[in-house]
């Protein structure tokens, strides 16, 4: 019997997107008022990590839905409203994290991010907080009749619904294959770029400075973005295929490691200072090995999912 099951994990983690974004927003406001780049970077790094952690929050939520549907005291309406609300909130928390990452990358390249960056991130993070708060409130109502309003569930209007996404993926014969094609193109771009950058840290391509290869990182992020969108389409359209499959959970765990490594590659000082001919420290090499290994783990567990899991 596992100590933690997926509904429990969802309960443990589900405050991260809401509370994390509120703290990030506070840090960002403080950074703007005090004109402090250090605070600004801290808030951007937090936004990136919150976006990363929101992925398992969403996915354990899907698993929790499978586990608790039909239990007494559980409101099916609240589950539907929660999931619909989360869809848009998740999109915004990911957008905020992606833009925060780009700003961190620009801090490196251009000494400071473009002028429109901080207002844009401020706006996105504010929208995220509003959407997350709405989604979280309904989430609480799933299991707590005492906070449900008399008329049933207090659900914000949903612009995008889970059913609409499912319909888009399943009712059109071309959507799934097209998303698969894009998923493979995205993974090649992502893996190729990160392989080259990490090879430099490991001592291949030593004649090239780390800073010049750092320019390639947004292309890896582009590949990741394509795969996040297409991957979410698969999961939303067919959650039962993934939620009952162990390799899918390994894949998400490997993604967390890979995401933290990507942040390290983007912002840390010691790597940035590697000039042509310089050797990276042993610790940095170990991190580069973990990054490549984590991506291999992501691709392996994704590709082996139909064979290792019990899903198909």
């Amino acid at each position: 019997m596992p100590v933690l099951n997926t509904p429990h994990l969802h309960l443990l983690m589900n405050h991260v997107p809401t509370v994390g974004t509120v703290i990030g927003l506070g840090l960002l406001l403080l950074a703007l008022m005090r004109r402090s780049d250090h605070l600004m970077r801290a808030s951007l790094e937090l936004f990136f990590l919150v976006a990363l952690a929101s992925l398992p929050v969403y996915l354990t939520g899907l698993a929790a839905q499978e586990a608790i549907s039909g239990l007494p005291d559980v409101s099916a309406d609240a589950i539907t409203a929660h999931h619909n609300g989360v869809l848009l909130a998740f999109a915004f928390v990911e957008l905020t994290g992606a833009l925060a990452w780009l700003a961190l990358w620009q801090f490196r390249r251009l000494a400071r991010p473009a002028a429109w960056m901080s207002p844009a991130i401020l706006l996105l993070a504010t929208v995220t907080v509003v959407l997350m708060a709405g989604a979280a409130t309904v989430g609480g109502e799933i299991r707590h009749p005492e906070i449900r309003p008399d008329g049933g569930v207090l659900a914000p209007a949903a612009w995008v619904t889970v059913d609409a996404v499912r319909e888009f993926v399943i009712s059109r014969a071309w959507t799934w294959p097209t998303a698969e094609v894009l998923h493979f193109i995205g993974l090649s771009l992502l893996f190729g770029v990160l392989l080259v950058v990490n090879l430099r840290v490991l001592g291949g391509l030593k004649a090239v400075s780390y800073a010049s290869l750092h320019k390639l990182l947004p292309w890896a992020m582009l590949g990741f973005g394509v795969n996040l969108v297409t991957g979410m389409l698969f999961v939303i359209a067919s959650p039962e295929q993934y939620m009952t499959s162990d390799p899918f959970y390994w894949k998400v765990a490997f993604l967390m490691v890979a995401g933290v490594d990507l942040l390290y590659l983007t912002v840390f000082e010691r790597l940035w200072g590697l000039r042509a001919g310089d050797n990276a420290t042993l610790l940095d090499k170990a991190i580069a090995v973990s990054a490549v290994a984590a991506w291999i783990g992501v691709i392996y567990s994704g590709r082996m999912l139909p064979f290792l899991g019990n899903a198909f």
Partner: protein
């Protein structure tokens, strides 16, 4: 057709098709994905650099990436041959599969040309020529078409 039947009956083909273990078909397929991502991903970086992405990255040292590209190529080739052998009578008659082989052959030729023209020993002294840039762009397109064809093969058995 006889040739395809003969290939399908070979030991490795039968093993990939029928062995009731994850080390058979699933692992060969997964290695094909790894080979593809290394081949396409690394050569895409080399093409992007030719096209001006990361303009301060010196060209000549990137030559050392070509062995990585070829490792990806060989892994794709060996696992691809095994996957073909396991279903030779089906794949050998499929227009989409044969088209994919031609596209990959074209991609391979372009990689060789890019290495010769864009990453020669004097690569840093000469500006990247128009032809090389066209080749780099073509390679990206060719790989997109190859991945599309390969991925769609899963839906047309």
């Amino acid at each position: 057709m006889d040739l395809y039947l003969w290939i399908e009956a070979l030991g490795p083909s039968t093993w990939v098709r029928e062995a009731p273990t994850v080390w058979g078909y699933p692992t060969v397929l997964t290695l094909h994905t790894f080979g593809m991502s290394v081949l396409v991903g690394t050569s895409a970086v080399l093409s992007l650099r030719i096209l001006g992405v990361g303009g301060s990255i010196p060209l000549a040292p990137l030559r050392t990436l070509f062995p990585v590209v070829w490792v990806g190529w060989w892994v794709s080739f060996v696992t691809g041959a095994l996957l073909f052998g396991a279903a030779a009578t089906v794949r050998g008659m499929q227009g989409l599969f044969l088209a994919k082989l031609l596209i990959v052959a074209a991609g391979t030729a372009i990689v060789v040309l890019i290495k010769r023209q864009g990453y020669g020993p004097n690569a840093d002294q000469v500006a990247v020529s128009r032809t090389t840039r066209h080749l780099a762009l073509l390679l990206l397109l060719v790989w997109v078409v190859a991945i599309t064809a390969g991925r769609l093969l899963a839906y047309v058995t």
